[in-house]
């Protein structure tokens, strides 16, 4: 039977480095994705995810399983992401309209699209990518805390209690935050929803 996160962390505390490798393997992808969606930069997201794991490792001696491991992990990640977003806000630039169109940007293959490529689904692929950009842009436009709340709620399968602890707010404040965020997304994505309803 697989050891729980808490058991693994207690083993790390006892000096078992292999348990830390298991935690790294378990949470590297969700953590990098959460941070990538927060900061919109893969390299920065990976740097921040590294920092999260290092902080967890450094805190191993003082670890007490008073809360769920994921709450602790994503709390560190959220704080780092919010600080990073605030620090780099002035550097963020709108994507230039004449920037080369790319494909598979989420898979990490950001090569410019070769239109001459013999791809029968090229138009479909372009439409799909444009729709994804629209969704990403709608998420990006949310205030940082609302964005973090939506990402934790939608992609990390955490309950309201956990998310409210991560964001250091009450559960009712979180519900209100999430409602405002989804309401903004509903308005922003209304054209896409309407388009889907027609097709």
């Amino acid at each position: 039977m697989a050891r729980t996160d808490v058991q693994l962390m207690l083993d790390v505390k006892a000096g078992d480095e292999q348990s830390f490798a298991l935690l790294l393997h378990r949470y590297r992808t969700p953590l990098v994705n959460f941070l990538y969606r927060m900061v919109r930069n893969r390299e920065q997201a990976e740097d921040l995810a590294q920092e999260v794991f290092i902080r967890v490792y450094r805190a191993r001696a003082d670890y007490v399983p008073s809360a769920k491991f994921t709450t602790w992990l994503f709390r560190i990640a959220t704080n780092l992401a919010l600080n990073s977003v605030r620090d780099t806000r002035h550097q963020r630039m709108e994507v230039s309209l004449d920037a080369p169109v790319t494909v598979d940007s989420e898979e990490g293959d950001e090569r410019p699209l070769d239109v001459a490529e013999k791809n029968p689904n090229i138009e479909e692929h372009l439409v799909q990518e444009a729709e994804r950009d629209m969704i990403r842009h709608a998420i990006d436009k949310l205030p940082e805390k609302q964005r973090a709340a939506v990402l934790l709620h939608k992609y990390q399968d955490l309950d309201y209690g956990e998310i409210s602890k991560i964001l250091s707010c009450s559960e009712s404040a979180l519900k209100s935050l999430l409602f405002r965020a989804y309401e903004t997304l509903r308005v922003e994505l209304a054209p896409l929803v309407a388009l889907r309803a027609k097709s």
Binding site: N33, E46, R58, E107, G108, E131, H153, K154, R186, L192
Partner: protein, 161 residues
């Protein structure tokens, strides 16, 4: 239930996290309110759109970099951990400690223990210690042997008679 109150429960309803009573109230309201029904459907559509964003995989270098940073972390040691790491030092330190305790507690002079004269004689002995230390010198000091012998108490009484 009002539309405003419905708002606070809307996400819980979509997530299936409402209590049974709240769920029934919500369904009753939605059956009578087309505007809220549209909103619930739109929220669900937004949720489906968010599901369409693909996940990214961390780069191949990610794990390597994390492991390298972990390896570069200074080893945190408790104050006593060096003892565990060096058993010889532990043994030597224990022996030194035992020796110190033994020396500190052993009787300084065996004659003190053996003495049965009590505390008073012990104090006198301590006071005469410099004389006792020079006992051999005094005992073998020839000029002292030529001195007249002290008169004992018995002798003096005989002279009075």
């Amino acid at each position: 239930m009002s539309c405003t109150r419905m708002e606070s429960r809307l996400l819980g309803y979509i997530d299936g996290r409402l209590k049974e009573k709240e769920q029934r109230e919500m369904e009753k309201h939605l059956a009578a309110c087309p505007a809220c029904t549209v909103r619930v459907n739109e929220f669900r559509s937004v949720g489906s759109l968010l599901d369409e964003l693909p996940q990214i995989e961390p780069s191949a270098a990610f794990d390597v970099r994390v492991r390298a940073r972990i390896a570069a972390e200074p080893v945190k040691q408790e104050w006593w951990s060096w003892l565990g790491a060096a058993p010889r030092v532990l043994v030597a330190a224990s022996m030194l400690l035992l020796a110190t305790v033994w020396v500190g507690h052993r009787p300084a002079d065996s004659t003190r223990v053996a003495s049965s004269d009590g505390d008073e004689s012990q104090i006198m002995q301590d006071q005469d210690l410099p004389v006792l230390e020079n006992y051999d010198v005094l005992a073998n000091f020839e000029p002292l042997t030529e001195l007249p012998q002290p008169v004992s108490a018995d002798d003096s009484s005989e002279q009075e008679m």
